[in-house]
Structures are given as C-alpha cells and as structure tokens.
Symmetry: D2
Subunit: 352 residues, 4 copies
C-alpha cells in the first residue's frame, strides 16, 4: 500500500479489556503509532506493569487525562471508557481538531432521550450527538469514512445486527417477529471485579440476564428501524457463557415468503456482504462456532430455514473484544483514513 | 417411611454416563439394591475398573446380557443403551415379569412411524409401544405409577416441556409461536469419543447444531400436542456449551392475553407444579443458573413477560444427567413402587 | 444408629463458600439442626436471597452476630470467617459453654508468634491457642474427639499432609526433600470479587503464586515436624487452575531406602489409613483425577516410585470445599459427638 | 527486509493441530508460499472442509502423499505426522533435495536405541539420524541454520529445557535434583478422539499421567546432558489441565551456591537469552500465566529462589501449539533461510 506514514493516535481508558485490545492490535498496525495512553486510576504506571506480557512491545506509561496535551499529540483519539465519560471528552477533543472514535454507548443513539432513559445521566450535547456516525462499517461505511466522531456498537449489538441486516434491508421477515438469543463470553462484561463474574461462579454454568429489558434492545431497534424504513421491535435476551471470549447470536424470525430456502438466503447474504471483508457467510448447513472468530475481526454467519415453521434462523459469531469492540473501532479508523478496511486486523483465528 | 425392603434392580448399559449416574444414585437410595450390571463391550470387567473412584462403594462386575438371568434376579430393570436396543430387550423382560424403565428414545413415541422416520431401524413392537408410559412424572404421574414399561424423556425434552407445560395446558400462548433455544453441557452427548466433543474442540466455544431438524422436535411436539389438546408445532434449537453438565432452555412464546404480567404467570406455574417436589418456580425476576440444578434432580423455572412484545420468556434449568436422565428414571421407579417421588434423589446442589 | 436427637448448631459467616457448604451439608446431616446463621454484611437478609437455589430447603435469615444469643441457642458453633476474627469470638463462646469449630487460620498454629509473623494482627490468646486441637481427623482423631475448640486446616494443607503423613510417620524419606506442587480450583480463594479470579482472567490459564513464601508453608511444616519427631522443611508451591473445585497435590520426596517399590508404599499407605473412611488409597498405577473427589469428603491417594531417581511421587486429590473445608469441619463435629466419623458426609462423587 | 521471494513449502499431515497451526501461521508469513498439503485419511478433501473458518484464506486441497510430486514443488517440507512415519519419508525427501522439518519424535534422539526403547518400531536410519539437528533454536541456533533435517522438540520438552538450560549450562544446580512438574492444555494430545480427552471427562479436573515413566524424560535428559557436559537425570511429571492451550513447567532444583538470590539468576537468564527474541525473562517476582504466551511463539520465564531451602524454582510458559510445536518449526525455517528468527511469528498475545 506504499508508505502509510505513522498516524499518531491516543487511547483514553487504556487499562480495560477494550484498551488492551486496542493497544495490542494497533501495535501490529502498519499505519499507526500509539503515542498516548491515558487513564485515571492507573495514571503514572507503566503499561507493562498492568500487562507484563506486553511489556516487551509496549514501552508507554499511562498518563493523566489532559485533553490539551492529547490533542497536541494525537490526530485520532480512541475512547474506551465507562458509559457517560466520553460525552464529556469528545466535544473538547473535536474542538481541538482531533477525530474521536468512541467505544462506549455515549454516541450510539440518535435520540438523546432514549440514551438518558436507558443509561441515565445529565447530558445536553444533542448537537454533537447529531454529528456522530454509528460505527458499524458493514452498514454505514460511507458515513464513517467522512466522520469526525464515531460511536461504535458493542459486541451484542454488532453480532445481532450483522445477522439481521440483510433480512430487514430486503424486507424478508414479518414485522416484530425477530428474536435474538445471544450467548457471550464473560470478558464482554469488562475487567471490573464483580462476584457474578468470578470463575468460581460463572464457570460450568449458563444463565440469562436482563431478560425483556436489556438496554441493548433500543439500540438494536434503532438500527433495525433505520434499515427497514419503519419501526421495528425485537426481542433480545443475553446469556452469560462459561468462557472468556466469543459471542453467538441465534436469531429467529418468520419469513414473509415461505417459499424461500436456505440457499436463497445464503445468496442474499453473500450479495449483501460482498464488499465486506470482515463478514463471511458460511456454506449452507455449516454452522459457526464462536471459536472460529476468536482472535479475529471476522463475523461468521450461517442462515438456515425451517420449512415447517416458515422461520429463518441466523447464527452469527464474533470475537466480542475484536469485531465486537476494539477491532471494529480500528476498522472505522481505516475507513476514516481511506485505508483498506481490514488493514492491520487479524482474519485468521488460531484453532483450536 | 418404615422399612422399604430392598428392591432388587438391574442396569443394562452400566458403563455410560446414564449408567454410572444410575448406579451412583441407586447406591444412596434407601429402598433399592443394585444386583446386576450388564454390558457388552465391558462385560467381565469389575465396575471399579471403569470408574475407580466408585470402587469403594460399588463391588459389582459387569456381566453379559442374559435376559433370563436378569429376570430371575431383578424386579425392575433400567435400560441405558443406545437407541434401537431397548426395543429388543424390553418385550422379553416384560414377558418374564420385570418392570422396565428405559432411558433411550425407543419408547418415547406413541407413533412408531414417527420413531422410524427420525431414528430409523426396523421395529414392529407397536403393541409394546402402546403400553409404554412417557416417563415425565410432573405430567404423567398417575400413569407412571401404574406402568410396566416407562420410556423416559432425555435432558433437552424434559427441560423444554417443564418450561412449556403450564402455558399449553392453560392455553395461554398463541399456536405455534413457541421457540426453544436450548443450551447443554457436552455430557449430554454421552461418553463415546468423538472429535467435536474433545475438550480441545468444545471448550471456550459455543455453537448450535441440528438447527430446524433435530429429532427431539417431534418428541416435544407430541407431548405439547397432548397437553394442548391440538397439534402444536415448536422451533427447537440445541446448542453445545463449554461445560460438562447442566442445561438451560430459554423458551419464547407469544401470549394470547397481553394483559398478563410475570407475577400472574408465576402464580400459574406455582399452582401447576404445587404437587411436584422436583420443580421449583423461582421468585419473579430471579433467573436460574444451570449450576443451581447441578447434582440435583430439580428443575428451576423462572417466567418473565415482555409487555412491549407480548411475549412470555421462560427459563428452565436442569442437570442433564439427573433430572434429564438417571434421576428422572429413579423418580419414575419411586412412583411405580408407591414411594415418595423424590426418595433417594438429591435436591441440594453443591455450590459453587 | 438409633435416634441421634437434633444437635442445635450455628454458623457464623454463612454467606461465603465455607458457610454455604456447611449449610448444605448440615441440611442433609441426620444428627444436626442448624438453628442460627450469623453474618455482618448480610445480616437481616433471608439466606435464600443470597443463594436462591437453596431457598426451598433453608428457611433461615442471617442474623446479627450476638454471642450471648448464639450461645443460648447453639451447642456447637462453626466459624467460617476471614482470618483474625475467630480469635475474637471463640474465647467468649467457649466461656459460655459452646464448642467451637473454626475454619480459619486462627487456631491452626501452636506457636502464636508464627501465626503473627505470617498473618499479622495483635493477639494475646495463647492460652486458648494452647487448648485448640488441629482439626485433621486422620492424624488427630482422638484429640479432636475430646476437644472444645478445633482449628481445621484448609484445602492445600489437608491435601498435602494426607499425602505426606505416612512417609513422615514411618521415616521413609530423606529430610527436607519434600516438594509439594499443588493445583487448586479458584473457589479456594473465596467469594470476594478480585480481578485475578474473574473468569475472564483465570479461565484457560494456569499460574503459580506465592512461590517460596506462601503462608501455608509454616503450617505444613508444623504438622510434618510433629509427625516426624524432628524439624521438617518443605517446598510448597500453589497453582491456580482454570476450574471451580478440586485440588491435586503432587508431592515429590527422596526415599531413604531405594529398594522400596510402589506396591510396598501402597501397603504402607493402606495400613496407615485403614481406620480412615475418608481416605482411599488407589491401586498401584491408578492416578487420581480431582473430579473423582468433587462433591465428596474423600481424599484419593496414589503412590508411585521412580526407581531411576529413588523418588516417591504421591498424588492426592480432594474437593477443596468439602474435605478441604466444610466437610472436614463436620467430620470433626462427628468425632466430638461420638458419631460415625463420616456421618452425613457424601462419599460418592457425581461423575462426570 | 527487502523482497523475500516466496519460498514454496509443503506440509504433510495437514489435518491435525500441528498442521492447521502451520498453515495458519505460514499464511501470514511474508517469505513463504504453501503450495502443497498432504494427508492420507483426508486426501481429496478441500482444506476448507476440514476447517471451514480458514476457507476464506486457504484455497488448497489435501493431496495424496506422493514424494516425487512434493519434491518437485517444494523446497522445504514440514512433516506433522504421528511418530514413526517421518523416518520413512524424510530420507527420500532429503535425497530429492528438499529440506525437512519434522515435528514428530523421529529425529529428536541422537541414539536410535533410546528412540526404539521408548517409541518402538523398526528403524535403521542411523545415518539420517546422525545428520538431524535438534530444533530448539535458543540452544542450537547455528546448527539449525546449516541443517537439512531438523527434528523439533514438542511442547513439554521445549518449555522444560528453556527453563533448565541456563542453570545447566552455567553449572548452577546440584546433579540430578531437577524436578519438572508440567501442566498442559489438552490440545497437546492431538485431535484424535479419545475418551479421556472429552470435555465431559477432562473439564473441571486435573490429573497427572505417565508418572516416573514418560517418554519425554530421556529426551529432556539427552539435551540436559549435552548442556551440562555430563549425564543428567531429571524427574518429569506431566499433568493434564482443563484448558485447550498453554503449558506451564514448574521446575525445582537445588542450587550449588546457596548465596544466589533471584535477581542474580534473573541476570544470568537475561544474559543467556539476550539474543533470543522468543524468550522473555520476567522481572523478579512476576510469575507468568500460560495465557500470556497463548497465540504467540514466546516463552515467558520467571526465576525464584527459596533461601530457606536453597532451591531455585523456575516457571516457564508457552503456547503448546506454537512455541511448543508449529511456531518453533517456523522459527527453525527462518534460521535455515537466513531470515530474522521471528519472521512471521506472532509475539503479542491476545488478552484475556
């Protein structure tokens, strides 16, 4: 691709799983130099103290969050923070000329009231919200390429939307029949110590949570409605799996046209994702394991039809921390920079 | 309960997971003495060679399968064999006066044609099939009590039916809207060495299988139709979880009456299972973990309603090898013998 | 055993893993009634709120810790608290006539200075310490039977000592050659939320900790020295395994007499543990899996000899929360009460 | 590095874990083109049928093993086969001008009698054996660079030797005191279906195997003796961990000079591995987790000293399928080709 130069980027929130994935991936990215890591509780610590196994490659110290300093050094800033913090930092960073890629929920909603209903907090940055682009490259590639502020969806929503998008865009399913039964590894819940995420609690067990009222529901519905051109309602149920990484969304919906067979749908999905190097539609009858996606920025999708029930069943898998988080943010960066969308992103999973 | 005497029982198929669970549970059962263990490939071996950790309590040798000898020694025989073998052994055992409790699929279907369609094989024992009782105590308690031949359902079907039964019996859901998204530990697939069940393959990964065409579908539909009083169609999708034991069925269905709230349904479920000591309906808002059921013969159920979508979401969990297999068979034995239904069955899970 | 009556017992520290195991096991114990559960942070909560899956059997509320009230209700009190708390409660409880079984480190050391060196804190209860009996029934059965205060060893030490005891008692190994490489499930670290115990961190990984300086070292040495009749030094290295329960100690030591073969040692071990129903010495060449002990109060031991190196290698496994914690405490209770040592304790593990 | 050209290589035994790792790593290697995949049972199948998740990048079909054809196409051939097969293929391939990198045990032993004692089989290729170089780059870098035939050590031996080498080379430990307690994920046992490797059997459990008589013992001793300049005897105990990947060797040995502290040893280890980019010596007091190495060709080492016992305790971790298998083979290729030793090899693990 010729010499890419070295784009100076910063990461605020470097110590969590999102941060460490970003750092690890950007270290191998041919067009980027990470010049700043910021954090609050970990400020002053060498990054290698937090993650000793990366010490031989990451020779940076976590710094205080000083937006002037960051803006003077970085052209692009990744925000990997708990919900409610990015909306305080993005406006000044944008004003100082940085582009901002946010991994939290702060810029995922077009409607600020919806955000407040589900996430709480006082915010009044409707103008900034309006300028933000939803960071799912497969659906909003062009807008992302021109964005100054990107709000990336997380793992559950990314995996669910990639499964549903072709159906909704082509109007193939009956309204409001979509049910998303999602299964995630526990790393999706972050690195904060909580009792229910202890190995002793979460291993060898499976459970649902947030049933009928998870806050990813309105986010999924917002994008589904945008794709379908009318209001769409979905049922979303997340489950915690006894594993570190990986996410499977099993999606059920009733077909409008009962005559469709799975090969038809595979054709439609392949066409829909033809220009999307990070989505792989599997041959009919091959169902994905989450492990296939682990360590990569890929989403594997398989489509099945039950002719008895006229339902389509879509299975999609991702690595929740890569395509579902840090890798997707870098995919957005690549689009913003006019680079190959998959530049620097791993596409071959280690197996087993 | 006074002196129960010691009922002499035998187990054919003692080396698999079903067999070893039966043995382990029956050793602690106050009314039973295991006097015969039978197997083909393992015949002649002391049981303690197969399972050294049980050697201190199980002083039996696996014997050849000689039906005359078995019938002369045992009043009740458990069959824990691959599908297609029980139907060869049950008729002669019944003829010799034994009662038979079968853990395979051979006597689960009323309609022999349905069995053959999904399981293959040549069979002509329609009369025996007609006399068999479906071994799910919570639904067919009285019939089991009077049965000579019981065909016990397996883990997926048991857990799914216990979740659905009150809804169908009370006519609470719209026809054919039920979707069962089931998640099972890998022990449910048995002890036969298969590549996809290796730890190296199945750990840290989740996947669906048998989508839209799993042979448990017609079995679930048979019982659902019986409960509802009309033909019922369901969508059933099994998933393999990275864990040894435990099964969660997440069941979705659309309510007929959108006014029902979850507390209403909890009341209905509690009433339905009032006389069922092995089913525990959880307080509204408490969702079960599979781990809570592990090591016990219990099924924990939680019912949720989504007022936005008018759907009921039922979560039910079991230990796939106990309530989903060996424990249920013993529960049936207890009914046959007129004992307390839960006699000798563990009801308190080790935690964590 | 005739009518045992119902001994009223209490548990202080009911919400942790030790507490919940005690409750679960005591619920099934034929001679005991749990009449009091005490805690500080959880006081006032129904126990079923902490552990919903036990709600159907445990109808108790966690109460404030009021020693007068406890003593008026309980004849025996189990203390399952962080180190440093039992030594404040045991003396008054003893003074009020209770017997006390402590699961913490507070009464494991004969020498209070050693305790303070490794555990810190100000204590001056040397007299009480002197009266405490070390709660490892296989080694101190008679003393426990007559004790008013028992300090039970934890999982690592129990499993290590049961592996080493016959060697030391018989003087079979060269001084100071014993190396204990121990592997434990993460539940041994308790239920407090810590980052390194998160599933996302601890799953799919193995690591040593506390190398060369773990505080179980002096405790192991204290008992080894008592058994050997001279000062013994050991090397102890704990490792965290990616699993919930189970502990394996692999013990290496150099034989004094190189002529011994593994069958000789199996004979010696069998003799040593003849009267110990909770220790099972495996046939030569059969090595234990931790899973064999899980859910039981058993310790499985296998002894191997390497004639090339003149080393004995002993493998011993336990369930860290039963024989390594709550089960052992109940075993001590049984001795104190003059009951069968294994009364109410599970001896058959579920498998797999 | 300038244009490397594209070295045509082949892999015989492409369907196992070694094979799939080789393929995956070589696909990302800038100097290599994989032009041939060979297998027997899988011949004729597209590689993507065996591993659907690699289908989008690996467009090759497994071919019959035809040595003439292979030699005409490939300059270097990797053999990833069960023990006893490479020794039949390597001589003809060498004769036809190929260089051969073998991942089996066939060319690891200098002494053919030792091989036969532990691995059985009839072989008479002593001359070829004599020409083979032991493929552990950190110890035999120069010889590998000039080799035509390399016999790579596996995961246990690699991880053990990297832990022991500096001690032996510098004469720091007392003879025959080394004990290697090794813990491995189950993928090290390969992809063949065996009951004891099923998830249902191996998950949530830990056990030793091959105690006192594992065939890696003579291989470790052969290299240790070579390093020390005299015969060395070690104690080696492998353990199976409930996880897919990763290997930890905890090594114990008695120091000759009790005055050494851990910082001294860290200095010695750092010096020993200064020119070895795939070995990282950790700061004193930081102990490695296997997870840190997973997905990389690195070995992390930490050295601890117990001044009470005069023992050194070394912990070393690797990914058993990369540095312990396929990655090491590629490291050897890089040396043979005069490339940077770590070319194309991953050095940054995903975390968590």
């Amino acid at each position: 691709m010729g010499d890419l130069g070295q784009l100076p980027v910063g990461i605020i929130g470097a110590s969590g799983y999102g941060g460490v994935q970003l750092i690890r991936l950007l270290m191998d990215h041919p067009g980027v130099e990470v010049v700043y890591l910021g954090g609050s509780s970990s400020a002053g610590k060498p990054f290698s103290e937090l993650y000793p196994h990366l010490g031989h490659c990451v020779n940076l110290t976590i710094e205080e969050i000083d937006l002037d300093k960051i803006a003077s050094r970085c052209q692009v800033v990744f925000l990997s923070l708990p919900n409610g913090l990015a909306c305080q930092m993005a406006p000044p960073l944008l004003a100082k000329g940085c582009k901002v890629i946010d991994l939290s929920a702060d810029y995922r909603f077009k409607n600020l009231e919806t955000y407040k209903t589900w996430y709480g907090g006082e915010r009044n940055d409707q103008e900034t919200v309006a300028s933000a682009v939803y960071g799912l490259p497969e659906l909003y590639r062009d807008r992302i390429a021109n964005a100054k502020l990107v709000g990336c969806p997380g793992c559950y929503v990314t995996t669910s939307l990639l499964a549903l998008a072709p159906l909704l865009k082509q109007g193939l399913i009956q309204p409001d029949t979509a049910i998303i039964d999602a299964k995630s590894g526990t790393s999706g819940a972050g690195r904060k110590a909580k009792t229910n995420l202890l190995l002793a609690e979460a291993d060898s067990s499976v459970a649902a949570y947030g049933v009928a009222r998870h806050r990813h529901t309105p986010e999924i519905e917002q994008i589904c409605s945008d794709l379908a051109g009318h209001e769409v309602m979905v049922q979303f149920t997340p489950h915690l799996m006894p594993m570190v990484r990986g996410l499977l969304a099993t999606v059920y919906a009733t077909l409008r046209d009962p005559g469709l067979v799975r090969e038809d749908l595979a054709t439609i999905y392949n066409a829909f994702y033809r220009a999307s190097p990070c989505v792989r539609v599997l041959p009919s009858g091959t169902y994905p394991q989450t492990k296939w996606a682990c360590g990569t920025n890929l989403c594997y999708i398989s489509v099945e039809v039950d002719p008895r029930t006229d339902r389509v069943i879509v299975m999609s898998v991702t690595d929740n921390l890569i395509k579902g988080q840090a890798g997707q943010a870098i995919q957005c960066l690549n689009l913003i920079m006019g680079w190959d969308e998959k530049l620097g992103l791993p596409l071959l999973s280690f197996y087993p």
